[in-house]
């Protein structure tokens, strides 16, 4: 059963140099995007470890987004290539375990792509609304 008026919780790990700046620009540009996204600023998208993503799901997130610089634009040269390798592997493992691969997305958003940030979050929010709460991966004791 999918609840009516279900508002998904999104955790977005945003890279300090591109995606966070993009989100910031969306804010200063007064672009409206769904407010149910919680942004966590990380120094680089490759800082995001598997346990952070899994823990977000456990503790209440319905969707997790990892956003980094476009490949080739990384502030640290190769950080997001590492992200790409690891996240690809994580996605195939979680879908092998029968978890929903659509609940976890990786996007490349640069500092001036405020509109892309907005549209990505909106799109993701819509997908999650259709999917409903992420009970499969939720720790039932956290009471959300």
């Amino acid at each position: 059963m999918i609840e009516q008026n279900f508002e998904p919780k999104i955790v977005a790990f945003c890279c300090n140099w591109c995606s966070y700046a993009g989100a910031d620009l969306a804010g200063t540009g007064r672009l409206k995007y769904p407010e149910n996204v919680r942004i966590i600023r990380v120094p680089c998208s490759s800082r995001v470890e598997v346990q952070m993503i899994m823990r977000a799901f456990q503790n209440g997130a319905d969707g997790v987004m990892v956003a980094g610089c476009h490949p080739g634009d990384c502030h640290y040269d190769t950080g997001n290539y590492h992200t790409r390798r690891r996240m690809m592997l994580l996605q195939s493992l979680t879908s092998f375990l029968g978890m929903d691969p659509d609940r976890f997305i990786v996007k490349w958003i640069s500092g001036n792509e405020a509109a892309k940030f907005k549209s990505t979050v909106e799109e993701f929010n819509e997908t999650l609304k259709k999917l409903g709460p992420a009970d499969k991966v939720r720790d039932q004791r956290c009471g959300i």
Binding site: V50, R86, L89, L97, G98, D139
Partner: protein, 330 residues
């Protein structure tokens, strides 16, 4: 197999007598039938307990991280997969090669007790095993059966590509070179279950793993037995932030533990199968590891941890890697 045991005892006695090493880490007969347990021979008298047989499962290299062995000269008995685990530890400078005396043994695979039990009516207590060319003769008071060796061999061994350490890498090799079995299987054939699970739809997959993972008692045997899982302070033992608690009724916590465990050893798994073998609940944990190996091989080319000299696939990344995330956007 018998001659390896005898050779091993001779070597061990020699090493201990001449004070070349302080301790010889090997296997001894366990209390259960057909069980070999890790054994440390420190004196000349201990040497006669040393054995090597088709039940010598566990990798001994992890004991080297113990404070007890720090700064001591240790001789180590190594099968192919054990050597691969040790090689990773050597590459990461976790142990000093100068402190080690490596005794490589010709491995013909280890037996799977559950497979063996299916072949006989009598209990394991009553039977004796005799290994011939490629047949295993099992005899008890009731029956005498001869089964092909590969039928009772552990599935991980059937897919093994590196059964014995190389001559240059170890100090001595015991036994005579030979093929493991007549049957040669590819990894895909040995782990056919992966293909079956991949074919299921998402809901079935979830139900399958729910059934498996919910049995987990979080005893951490799989972590402790793994030859490449060697962090000094494990993420799961850390108190702040504490990632897991003692509650084992939550599927999410099992998923968390097993995803991270498999992921942390993804590009270093040597495929010894010890994680599944030690699991008291028989959870097919190796499937998770094999799935990751399969994916890594598919995307980044084949890589054998602990054998290949090139860097591990997750330790570097390239600009022209496949990008599944970018494609969605265009």
């Amino acid at each position: 197999m018998r001659n390896i045991t005898n050779e091993l005892r001779e070597i061990a006695e020699d090493l201990l007598e001449s004070k070349k090493v302080d301790v010889v880490l090997g296997y001894a007969k366990g209390e259960q039938p057909y069980q070999s347990v890790p054994f440390a021979a420190k004196k000349k008298e201990d040497v006669e307990n040393l054995i090597f047989d088709i039940f010598s499962y566990s990798s001994l290299s992890k004991y080297l991280l113990d404070d007890m062995y720090r700064g001591k000269k240790v001789a180590l008995v190594l099968k192919g997969c054990d050597y691969r685990g040790l090689k990773i530890m050597l590459d990461e400078s976790r142990v000093d090669r100068d402190d080690l005396y490596l005794i490589g043994v010709e491995c013909r695979g280890v037996l799977e007790k559950s497979k063996l039990k299916k072949k006989i009516d009598a209990t394991l207590f009553e039977t004796t095993l005799d290994l011939k060319e490629d047949k295993l003769a099992i005899s008890s008071s009731k029956e005498n059966v001869e089964v092909p060796y590969e039928d009772v061999l552990s599935p991980y061994c059937l897919a093994c590509e590196f059964s014995t350490p190389h001559k240059e890498e170890v100090d001595i090799i015991l036994g005579e070179p030979g093929k493991m079995t007549n049957k040669e299987l590819t990894t895909d054939e040995c782990f056919a279950e992966i293909g079956q699970i991949e074919k299921m739809d998402e809901k079935q997959r979830f139900e399958y793993w729910k059934k498996q993972l919910n049995r987990c008692k979080r005893c951490y045997s799989c972590r402790n037995a793994c030859p490449v899982c060697t962090c000094r302070v494990c993420l799961f033992d850390r108190e702040n932030p504490s990632y897991l608690d003692s509650d084992t009724s939550q599927l999410a916590q099992h998923q968390f533990y097993h995803v991270i465990r498999a992921f942390h050893i993804s590009d270093r798994c040597v495929g010894c199968g010890q994680c599944s073998r030690v699991c008291p609940e028989n959870i097919p944990l190796h499937l998770l590891n094999q799935k990751l190996i399969k994916e890594l091989n598919k995307f980044y080319g084949s890589y054998l941890p602990g054998v290949d000299e090139q860097p591990a696939p997750l330790s570097f990344a390239k600009a022209d890697d496949p990008d599944p995330f970018e494609k969605e956007e265009k």
